[in-house]
Assembly symmetry: C2
Homo-oligomer: 352 residues x 2
């Protein structure tokens, strides 16, 4: 058996909200009136009501539901590039657009990316200030591929002010925006106020099926609706994603503080083991990277043995480095369903 | 009350499969095991099994499920343009890419379209033969915006052979492919054998929620999967569309012959009324355009009165021309639910 199969066979998991099954959709639709009509190419109550609700939650003028964040963010950057007449945009080297989208931004829009920050740290204010003229700066909160670091809110404010003075549009990759609010002790609206446009996802901390909101000023959103049609994202019915997005948003939006506290507690227990550590050492959101000393074969065998003995899934994959391996832990509802006894056994096993 | 509202309030409709409501999704998922796992970014049993099934049905090497036909077809043309090193593609002036996609093909891919045929007729073999060098010719079967005309199968064979000899890729816009099979007396595989790539939709005659299949040779599909990621169409879970697509495909794929016969019968009855006619006069698929003499106000009032008296919806919109108005009729399950008495009353009312 491999690590992935071993993980899939566990009855409980440290990360997530439980398995991604058809039941997630069925639960969200169980109480919905069968006579409720579908949205229709971006119009209709089901989509317009949710877009308006999210615009209000984020404190933006308007909002658009997209099938994916990939589509939403490429479009955001393209609009800002067209508006400023500048083909350069800036973001972190581990930005989703740089590493997960098969160069869609470059292939579809011929925009150039200037990379700020490094593979093991966030971008700095000095790096932002040293930027050449760019249309837009994208900031991801938290920086997922680093394990979920956040810059201090004060620094964000300074960056925001600096960008406004220089005419650089500031876009928030807020795939996990709600997950940052406990640390910042701010509302979503207060964070978004620093940005010109914002994307949020509904299948990370929220645990919906798929889909995203892109929010910004009205003229920006009018353009984004045209681009959504061009991309083939203006589906005749997006309600199969919208209704679960709304359902799980209401279910989980107020649980982020709990997830963050649980992530801190869990990281503390991992850091107490020799040859095991997390980044951040003290999580600032619901996620962190977990590192274990040893080559990938040895580490996989160790985790697999723990998973098979305790029934608790730690991870299904490892990223090997020199002398250690890494994986991502991201807390959702599943963690709370593990009882203390099981968790103690997991850490006893892991220490052996 | 306007015509659209009057149509929405009817209990029966000539066109479609009944109202597009959440019940359409709930019905498709009612018997699905809640533990069935989601697809995962294009992998997993639910998506791969359906893609393989559709590849087989269409007789193509491989197939990919897309959220929309807009996305699928732009990508198909882009791949053929790259493969042949030619930026020109050819299609009918009423092609979906030309009139419904906000110029996505041009804005995202900078391809040039050469238009063949005219607003009131299909393209001809002579026009195809007069083409300059192009990467790809797209043929839509049936031509929806004309009311559903089809070229003779013999002519398709000649066009196909001609394109192969000249190295022009032939792409089938088969949004309504199944709807053509009764007229051609062919299998889907036999029609697709004339083409290099094929797109089919799951929410026209099939009546699913949304989604499309793009099928073609293996290297073409490998490229298309990369482009699907670039577009943001490679969602973490497409099963909310795939499971209904499969469900309604199985439910309705063998009903197309009935729909076509019903369309013929209905068109015959419309054509028997003075100042009312259809194109085609004798439908070749499940659809036709319905034309009524008079300005749009008079025609709307006439239809509205019929709808209110009989409870049978004819249409919710009109396209005004000089001296007459047009609308589209497209037969699905809803037509069969109207009893003969209601239908007779509708035609009696309409003749007054």
């Amino acid at each position: 058996m491999d690590l992935r199969t071993s993980y899939q066979q566990t009855s409980h998991q440290l990360s997530g909200h439980g398995k991604r099954t058809v039941g997630v959709l069925q639960q969200a639709f169980a109480e919905v009136d069968p006579n409720q009509v579908s949205d229709h190419y971006g119009t209709g109550e089901v989509i317009m009501r949710f877009e308006q609700k999210m615009a209000q939650e984020l404190g933006m003028e308007d909002a658009i539901f997209f099938p994916s964040g990939t589509m939403a963010q490429q479009i955001a950057l393209r609009i800002w590039a067209d508006e400023t007449g500048n083909r350069n945009v800036a973001y972190h080297p581990l930005c989703h657009l740089e590493i997960h989208e098969q160069d869609g931004l470059k292939e579809l829009h011929h925009l150039e990316a200037i990379l700020l920050g490094d593979d093991d740290r966030l971008m700095t204010l000095d790096e932002v200030k040293a930027l050449p003229d760019v249309a837009c700066l994208l900031i991801e909160l938290p920086q997922r591929e680093l394990g979920g670091y956040l810059p201090p809110f004060k620094e964000l404010e300074t960056i925001s002010q600096y960008c406004r003075e220089r005419g650089i549009r500031l876009h928030l990759d807020g795939a996990r925006l709600l997950e940052t609010l406990p640390y910042y002790e701010k509302t979503a609206e207060e964070v978004c106020a620093l940005f010109d446009s914002v994307y949020v996802s509904f299948y990370k901390g929220i645990g919906g099926i798929a889909g995203a909101i892109l929010a910004g000023p009205k003229p920006f959103c009018a353009d984004a609706r045209v681009w959504k049609r061009r991309y083939g994202g203006d589906l005749i019915g997006l309600y199969p994603y919208i209704i679960p997005a709304d359902y799980y948003y209401e279910l989980r939006k107020d649980r982020m503080g709990t997830y963050v506290e649980q992530a801190k507690e869990l990281a503390r227990r991992f850091n107490a083991i020799d040859g095991v550590w997390t980044t951040p050492e003290v999580p600032v959101t619901n996620m962190f990277h977990l590192h274990l000393e040893g080559d990938d074969e040895a580490v996989a065998a160790r985790i697999q043995s723990v998973q098979e003995t305790t029934g608790v899934g730690v991870t299904g994959y490892l990223v090997p480095h020199d002398h250690y391996c890494s994986t991502e832990i991201s807390i959702g509802d599943a963690y709370g369903e593990i009882d203390e006894h099981q968790l103690n056994r997991l850490f006893e096993q892991l220490e052996q």
